[in-house]
């Protein structure tokens, strides 16, 4: 067996594309992966909490084999009640976002920005009549502003670094890091997305 340094990969899809030497197989595999995104997330969340199937079954009052069956399912086979129950056993609630299939990354970011705005408004309302909440909310707003700006700056840095490799690419455009969440964005997103909170 050869243990010589080989090419390393940062994802399984990248590895499959390289090892398979067959684009059709890799495409099929990626399609299959999309069918188990929800189940995969549940498994990862369970592992992150250090729980095994038996413990989840105990919390849900069912058998371990039922949990095993659920974890072997495709997303299309899972009942919403099972999903909510499993999430609840992990100490989570289910929040479903319905989004247009063709929604771009920018649209998705704007949707989340509008969602953050709604939550911030709620927090501001709660803080109005309570001094303790006001202090906490102001500190949290500052922390949020810093973190959001940092996220945008980091993403911009990636673009700038890539641009450095091809000089002249950003010559006629000044990079802008301004983050603005306005009312229009929120309304705009409601055409694209619906949020359903399930408890």
């Amino acid at each position: 067996m050869t243990l010589m340094a080989r090419k390393r990969f940062t994802s399984i899809t990248e590895m499959v594309r390289d090892v398979s030497e067959d684009k059709a197989f890799a495409d099929d595999f990626e399609k299959l992966m999309e069918e188990r995104q929800v189940v995969k997330t549940l498994l990862m969340l369970r592992a992150a909490r250090g729980l095994n199937q038996q413990e989840i079954a105990y919390r849900l009052g069912c058998t371990q084999s039922r949990i095993s069956k659920l974890e072997s399912s495709s997303d299309g086979d899972i009942r919403l009640a099972d999903l909510c129950g499993y999430a609840s056993a992990l100490g989570l609630s289910v929040e479903i976002v319905l989004m247009k299939k063709e929604a771009t990354i920018v649209r998705r970011v704007k949707f989340h920005a509008a969602y953050i705005k709604r939550l911030m408004d709620r927090l501001a309302c709660l803080a109005k009549d309570d001094e303790n909440i006001s202090c906490g909310a102001l500190a949290f707003f500052g922390e949020t502003a810093f973190n959001l700006l940092k996220i945008v700056q980091n993403a911009a840095k990636v673009v700038q670094n890539a641009a450095k490799k091809t000089p002249g690419r950003l010559n006629d455009r000044a990079p802008s890091f301004a983050v603005e969440v306005c009312e229009d964005d929120g309304k705009d997103q409601e055409e694209d997305c619906e949020t359903v909170l399930a408890r």
């Binding site: 050869t2 390393r8 990969f9 940062t10 899809t13 188990r36 995969k40 592992a47 095994n52």
Partner: protein
């Protein structure tokens, strides 16, 4: 950040399974992706208990085809999560009939990996001195 590395042995078997048992291979790779993403999220290998992951000697894990449908042949992918180097080694792939040989391959792989790691550490000490 975790990375994944394959052996030549795995690459050969992957191409064979791709032609002979593509459904089994896709199901196993899907489970491998779940396992790998869980490692990347920061969960330690010893704390990952998934139905499709079997704990073998020397820290090797065998990932099966569960979740890919009821009529799939029993197939196993042997991997080793090297926590120190943050590398998931993909050692080999096989079915029931090749199981004994596959486990031997894993043993041999682990011996070679340890030797390689020790050589690397000795090299580091030499350069320090």
């Amino acid at each position: 950040m975790w990375e994944v590395e394959t052996t030549d042995e795995y690459d050969r078997r992957h191409r064979r399974y791709q032609k002979k048992r593509p459904r089994e291979l896709k199901a196993i790779l899907n489970n491998l992706d779940t396992y790998f993403e869980t490692l990347k999220s920061g969960v330690k290998p010893q704390n990952i208990f998934f139905g499709f992951v079997h704990h073998e000697p020397n820290g090797v894990r065998a990932i099966d085809q569960r979740g890919g449908g009821g009529t799939l042949a029993q197939t196993r992918l042997y991997v080793y999560p090297d926590e120190e180097a943050k590398v998931l080694h993909i050692i080999t792939l096989g079915d029931k009939s090749s199981q004994d040989g596959d486990i031997q391959t894993c043993k041999q792989f682990m011996v070679e990996l340890r030797k390689q790691t020790e050589r690397g550490k000795e090299g580091d000490h030499d350069s320090d001195g």
